[in-house]
């Protein structure tokens, strides 16, 4: 697959840029810890309320990380006309989209991987058994977030006025993704029953598929001259 090969190279480049040393990963870990501290200071999270608040808090952490990552996502391409350098090569434009989505996803998943257990320890939650399902749902939500976010971030790369409309369309689309994920998490945490979560889950998957396809198709137009 030509597309995948190119996407891998682009991904390799981003990863290279990010981790010349392993400290970036460490910073991820402490970042997760920090967010939980912040929550603790903002709301008294009492034991009896934790289960109820968990999905919201977790997603707050993830969305925040995601947004921060998005502002910097295309920074390497902004500098020194590197986007032009990429466009001069005959690569499939969608490969850039795929690689940035994956890069963003990796970053967020790493934070999530840290935050989940930390959350459990610090707030004394007993959801170890549910962890796989929680993670699966979160993954779907994160994917949707990354896809939309990458598109959004690519659009702001260009300052042309007419394209400022696109974020206006894109951004509200994030809300259903986040909503569906939170509801799913809530249901799983409350009852552990997948069956109840199905409608939300289907919605989530549908969103992911639609946005990925749309992004894949639209991206060439977004970055092209």
């Amino acid at each position: 697959m030509e597309l995948l090969r190119q996407a891998c190279w682009l991904l390799w480049k981003d990863v290279r840029l990010e981790l010349r040393r392993r400290e970036s990963l460490m910073s991820m870990f402490f970042f997760g810890a920090l967010l939980l501290f912040l929550f603790q200071f903002s709301f008294e999270i009492r034991q009896d309320r934790v289960a109820e608040m968990t999905p919201g808090l977790l997603w707050l952490a993830f969305v925040f990380t995601g947004m921060l990552a998005l502002t910097q996502l295309f920074q390497p391409e902004r500098e020194n006309f590197c986007l032009e350098a990429l466009l001069l090569t005959p690569f499939d434009r969608a490969a850039l989209f795929v690689s940035k989505v994956i890069f963003n996803l990796i970053l967020m998943l790493l934070v999530e991987l840290v935050v989940f257990p930390l959350f459990a320890i610090l707030f004394n939650l007993q959801y170890w058994g549910l962890l796989p399902s929680l993670f699966a749902v979160t993954f779907l939500g994160t994917l949707g977030f990354c896809v939309l976010g990458t598109l959004f971030s690519a659009v702001t790369l260009k300052a042309r006025a007419r394209e400022l409309l696109l974020p206006l369309v894109l951004f509200p689309l994030l809300i259903p993704v986040v909503l569906a994920t939170i509801r799913c998490l809530e249901i799983i945490l409350r009852s552990g029953a997948w069956s109840e979560a199905y409608p939300w889950l289907r919605l989530l998957i549908a969103f992911d598929v639609i946005f990925m396809t749309a992004g894949y198709l639209i991206f060439e137009w977004v970055v092209e001259a």
Partner: protein, 223 residues
Amino acid sequence: MRQLSKAFGSQWALRDVSFDLRAGECVALLGQNGAGKTTLLKLLSALMRPTSGAIELARPAVGYLVPGAHLYEHLTVGENLRLFLALHNNKKTPAEVEKALSRASLTGAQDWLVSALSAGMKCRLLIAKWLLVEPGLLLLDEPYGPLDGAGVDLLESFVSELTRAQTAVIIATHQIPRALALCSRALVLTRGRLVFDGPRDDAAANLDRLGESLLPRGEAWSY
């Protein structure tokens, strides 16, 4: 190239420019500051869309060299080359890469970050990159600027190699004597219009008439 025009806002940067390029031809693109040289090259490289007109390319691979741009500053020299070669679907071996770098006097700089290179070294690196990619049409935008004597030699031998390999080359520059010595044909732009298109000797003879401020006062421009 047919009737190429480009407007920015309400202003024409390029007006009805048409010309043909033959394979293996080397063209000097001359013109005052703001004449539209860079705009023309960007249109040719498809980094910009023409407001009107169309571009037809026989071999679609276009190389565009702007000194100092188009490199990831925080990747090393080797990483930059590997990335761009991979995206160009270019299967050069590491030995060939090493050879191109040594031609550009960058041996041993493989593991340097690009941000640690001097201006001339970055330009040499770009030359090495296009040397490896072998594009069908190469556009050079003021390539002489940061190069020292040896760098100019490298650039010119690189250009003549390419033209021998049937690549068309366009050099936009203000180093008119050097460019005319190297190229067989010249284009002159003035305020977005193509005012001259012909062999270099005609250009050299008519230069004063074509653009008042192409040469500094009293410059001898023998080649």
